[in-house]
């Protein structure tokens, strides 16, 4: 079976030789090509080549079309990204600096025609051509309730959300939700089939239960309604969300949940059961200091929890560059080994 078929089997609970094994490597591509991060992320060809080489090196099932999270801010006009050769790029200046900027904020009519999409489009074209028939292509799409944090900074966004004028907040959210709808459609059209829906405000680690019900859910509904939930993976930016899984399933029927390493994986698997895909996520920050054996032991522990009953995927967060290569290899290899079905 191809990795794409293995993923489909896991989603549907059909027999497969092993569980799907994802390894998310973003910033490693620059080193793989021997160029700076700034140069690497300047061209879609580089990112696609980086992803293909990294997949060949470690053997994971997935590739990524994500350059860096700030790409979404670029589609809103951000032109200042802080690159680092040691970690992910960051938005260096925000497109919203005061509430008046929200009224001026423009959602691109056609995202795929925006210059900031051009390189992402090229990357997707290459990935689809090279591995689209056999491997999952992942995309990262930020929920409307979270996108303001990269447009105005998390600090200002929390201020507006919790104590700012409701009409201004809702105008911003409407624009972010419109953007989400267009962006997710563009990724789908471009060939991405695993759509990681980044929605930290969909976790009660970010907002209380009342605000989750009255704020997060309605905006998630608005985000997801037009395009549906095909390929959507519920992800709360590594925050735990076991306590809302049932609600999210009832409200949206989303078919995959990317569980925080800080959550109880056994509990998540028990909640989700055969209804959807449980994605077990290793704590890859601890992998910086672990040995390969410690990494392997943790992968085994997770597979022992997740594999029985199927509907399980192994994955990681955002692999830091400081994680030794042998640990990445140990992670992927042991997930393949312990995730094999007899």
């Amino acid at each position: 079976m191809t990795p794409l078929e293995i993923l489909t089997a896991a989603v549907n609970g059909a027999p497969a030789p092993r569980i799907p094994v994802f390894c998310n490597l973003f910033d490693h591509g620059a080193g793989e090509l021997g160029i700076s991060a700034k140069e690497y992320f300047s061209r879609g060809e580089n990112v696609a080549e980086g992803q293909l080489r990294l997949r060949a090196r470690y053997g994971q099932d997935n590739v990524w079309s994500l350059f860096y999270v700030g790409k979404e801010a670029e589609l809103f006009g951000c032109q200042d990204i802080l690159f680092s050769d040691n970690g992910p790029p960051n938005v260096a200046s925000f497109v919203i600096n005061d509430y008046d900027d929200i009224a001026k904020l423009e959602v691109p009519e056609d995202i795929t025609a925006h210059p900031a999409w051009a390189e992402t489009g090229k990357c997707l074209d290459i990935l689809r051509r090279e591995v689209g028939a056999t491997h999952p292509i992942c995309a990262y799409v930020t929920a409307s309730s979270t996108l303001p944090s990269i447009l105005m900074g998390m600090e200002k966004w929390m201020e507006l959300l919790l104590s700012g004028p409701a009409d201004v907040r809702d105008e911003l959210l409407r624009k972010c939700s419109d953007f989400f709808q267009k962006e997710v459609a563009a990724y789908r059209a471009g060939g991405a089939n695993v759509l990681v829906y980044s929605t930290p405000f969909g976790s009660t680690s970010f907002v209380g239960a009342k605000r989750f019900r009255e704020f997060s859910i309605p905006w998630m509904k608005r985000d997801l309604a037009p395009g549906g939930i095909g390929g959507i993976v519920y992800y709360c930016g590594m925050a735990p969300f076991n306590n809302v899984i049932d609600t999210v399933m009832d409200e949206f029927g989303i078919g995959a949940y990317y569980i925080s390493p800080q959550a109880d994986l056994a509990e998540a698997k028990a909640i989700i059961g055969p209804r959807a895909l449980t994605c077990g996520v290793i704590d890859d920050i601890k992998m910086i200091h672990w040995t390969a054996e410690q990494t392997r032991a943790e992968v085994k522990r997770m597979c022992d929890i997740g594999k029985p009953g199927g509907h399980f995927l192994f994955g990681n967060g955002v692999m830091p560059l400081a994680v030794p290569e042998e640990n990445i290899r140990a992670m992927v290899d042991s997930a393949m080994e312990f995730g094999a079905t007899p």
């Binding site: 802080l82 600090e155 970010f206 920050i285 200091h289």
Partner: protein, 227 residues
């Protein structure tokens, strides 16, 4: 009466309702409660309660942390202007985000709580070079240097806490300043702070208040006058 006011204020903060919290404070002032009592018998106990809640209840959330700090800092600032005499301060800290890190939320939560807890906070901004942390600590005669980092490479990199520790060592200043770190990477690996040379770490902005005060008192147990 103060018990009722405290409970109403805590409820408002817990519900992240800033308007309601200010209504409680304004009503208390109208009833003749002194600004000093509002800070020392309402705001500070409420912050301390939230610190305790966080330890006991992992379901407290970022919005509550943010509003606890925000409301506490704003009420304290407003009340301080009405104090008969400036209050004694616990100590001084400089705080900033590590070089290459532009995430300011954690720093703001920490600063808000500390201001309410009578700690003088010198916020030196985001993307701060290690040399600047040391200069600022000397300039303000601080006891603690607090470094926030939301990304692994800024938490563990050569231009972050690690370098600040090295500078303190080179300049013979380790006895004068304690280093405290915070941010997402430290939550995922609770031993990480040691590897970057910090004296302590805080799992969230509100808990950081107590941790930083403990470190201030370890360096300078005496009361200091406001600058």
């Amino acid at each position: 009466m103060l018990d009722t006011i405290l409970q109403a204020y805590k409820d408002a903060v817990y519900d992240t309702d800033k308007e309601a919290a200010f209504e409680v404070v304004d009503a208390a002032l109208d009833q003749g409660v002194s600004p000093e009592d509002i800070v020392f018998k309402v705001v500070i106990p409420a912050v301390e309660t939230m610190m305790a809640e966080i330890t006991k209840d992992p379901d407290t959330n970022l919005a509550q942390h943010f509003m606890t700090a925000q409301i506490a800092a704003e009420v304290t600032e407003k009340m301080l202007a009405k104090f008969q005499h400036p209050p004694a301060i616990v100590g001084r800290i400089v705080i900033g985000t590590a070089a290459g890190d532009l995430h300011s939320l954690g720093k703001r939560i920490v600063s808000g709580c500390l201001k309410a807890l009578m700690v003088e906070v010198f916020d030196i901004g985001v993307n701060v070079r290690p040399e600047r942390f040391v200069e600022a600590a000397l300039e303000h005669d601080a006891q603690v240097i607090a470094i926030s980092a939301m990304m692994v490479h800024t938490a563990t990199g050569e231009d972050g806490c690690r370098k600040v520790r090295e500078l303190l060592r080179e300049q013979g200043l380790e006895h004068r300043f304690r280093l405290v770190v915070g941010g997402a990477p430290y939550r995922f690996d609770n031993e990480l702070y040691k590897s970057v040379g910090a004296d302590a770490w805080a799992p969230d902005g509100v808990s950081a208040g107590k941790i930083i005060i403990d470190q201030i008192l370890a360096v300078k147990p005496l009361e200091v006058k406001p600058s």
